[in-house]
Symmetry: C2
Subunit: 331 residues, 2 copies
């Protein structure tokens, strides 16, 4: 199950426009301080003219720079996002285009498990690399949630932010110990409709967007139901994942959680018994960035020196589906 | 590179409503016989009340039946489609729900490289299985193109049909030789906009659907440009793939091509020098079913007895991106 795969470099891109909790208080017509208190998010970014592919490409260049690599060192590009730039083709091909690799032949495809897309892509692609298919894979999570928020649903619209994060992974040199130690994912579709955007696909085509149906094309969330299902499942999930990886909770230098919401992060830490030193919480400055949250949090933890080579790290999240997912790795 | 993974069973589902070339001649106001001659498609199916998840679930049950397995023998469900049922969550979770596996925990996610999604999923998931992550994976391609066709673009709208195909893959018993022998994918985003649906994602949100912009939310294709780019690349691509797999053209019992169009199939056979005996062509009865075409063609070839255990088979296609992809396997 172990894979001798190493995180070589990470990068991020944030849209130019920053949106404060105060600004959203005004927009929503709620008392000053309500948005920040309710969401745990002081500021987040919204795109103005940036596209998902542009943000992804900029994060990718930063990740390559951090890894000391050039674009042509990459032999696969995976976009791991919960949102797509356009229906066809996959966003990875559009990122390749932005990177001016249009004749490179570098294979491009998307992996999507909503907020867990990065975790799924890391898990799956580390296996392809361990089997000798690829040498260095660029995984890009790039999300624009701001176009799909329901401003009538105050509880959910205040949580999100736009942005991108990218991670380059490669095979670990023989003399080093970095590796994927274990991974797990569980999907419970009893919660498939607890968080969703019903429209936009083949069931409710954009042509059906009309007065009165707008809400079907924006994000809809039942926070209480998600909380209940997640609470039931997450403790057992993490215990099994860590046991299978022969890693104890206290051996984890850092837990990189999906930045779902302030409440989600408090519950996760509390229920699972992780300390504040372990839990990396960057929610206040970014909001929930869908699949970009976990790689961005990993990036910040590395930048802040909270993770060093040799440290054991848990990436952990929940997503629409409803899914739980995690990867235990040695950085 | 080899993976001891076996196709255990295949299945399909076709919508109840069948649409003939004659019916489309009338709809488009073209002379009788034009649609069939131009597309090579005599009939295809369009959904009436079926959803993508329902079609996928029905195909999945057939594939499990063919494999002699039950739903609970599966430990991963991948939806490998170019279209999604709704924006969030991933279609795989919705298929799990249709299969009444709502509390099973079976991990669900989507892999998308448009028409090559099945080939990509087979490639990637066979590596995860070879690394011991999963025992038996259900890959489902389920496509509804009929809601997203541009009836003003006669050249493209006549090609497509709706439907689903599913394949169960498992580890090969020690006494057998079935395996993935080789795989390759190349993406040339110089062709990223040769076939696309520009709207529906974050760049052109459904809220922007309005009089005059409808075409942005339907499929747009420049057949001549696709033809030119594919022609330049496909011979070298197939030669490299077969050489790396140590398989000669004449050793292939069957070539399972993406059923892109009558012209695409003729060009592929001609340029690559495959015989009519090798090329499996089911286009006339189904049309281009996006990612479902390749697994459906595999299913038909198995059903018709054109592929036996021990035979070497090439899955081969092109997709929006523009990508070329193939897998060489021993059935």
């Amino acid at each position: 199950m172990e894979r001798k795969i190493k995180v070589l470099g990470t990068g991020k891109y944030l849209p130019k426009r920053q949106v404060t909790a105060d600004e959203l208080d005004e927009r929503l017509g709620v008392p000053a301080g309500w948005v920040e208190k309710k969401s745990g998010v002081s500021k987040r970014h919204y795109v103005t003219d940036e596209t998902a592919a542009q943000m992804g490409a900029r994060a990718a260049l930063k990740a390559l720079e951090a890894a000391g690599l050039s674009l042509h060192d990459i032999d696969c590009l995976v976009c791991a996002s919960g949102t797509a730039q356009q229906e066809i083709p996959c966003t990875a091909a559009l990122i390749q285009e932005e990177l001016k690799l249009t004749r490179s032949g570098i294979p491009c495809f998307d992996i999507n498990s909503t907020c867990l897309s990065f975790v799924t892509a890391l898990d799956v692609m580390s296996c392809s690399m361990a089997m000798g298919i690829y040498e260095r894979v660029l995984i890009v999570s790039t999300e624009i949630s701001s176009v799909g928020l329901n401003w009538e649903q105050k509880e959910s619209c205040i949580l999100f932010g736009d942005g991108a994060a990218a991670v380059v992974i490669g095979r670990t040199p023989d003399t080093e110990t970095a590796r994927i130690i274990g991974s797990s994912m569980k999907t419970y579709s009893e919660g498939a409709h607890y968080s969703e955007i019903r429209g936009g696909g083949t069931q409710l085509h954009p042509s059906q967007y009309a007065q009165g149906r707008e809400a079907d094309f924006t994000f809809d969330m039942d926070g209480r139901k998600i909380f209940r299902l997640t609470s039931q499942r997450i403790t057992g999930f993490v215990e099994q994942l860590l046991a299978a990886a022969f890693v104890k909770k206290e051996q984890l230098k850092a837990v990189i959680p999906h930045q779902a919401s302030g409440m989600a992060l408090r519950i996760m830490a509390g229920k699972l018994g992780f300390s504040d030193q372990q839990m990396v919480n960057i929610l206040a400055n970014y909001g929930n960035m869908i699949a970009a949250s976990i790689p961005l949090t990993l990036h910040e933890a590395i930048q802040q020196g909270r993770i060093q080579r040799g440290d054991r790290v848990l990436l952990l999240g929940t997503s629409a589906g409803l899914s739980l997912g995690g990867v235990v790795l040695e950085y």
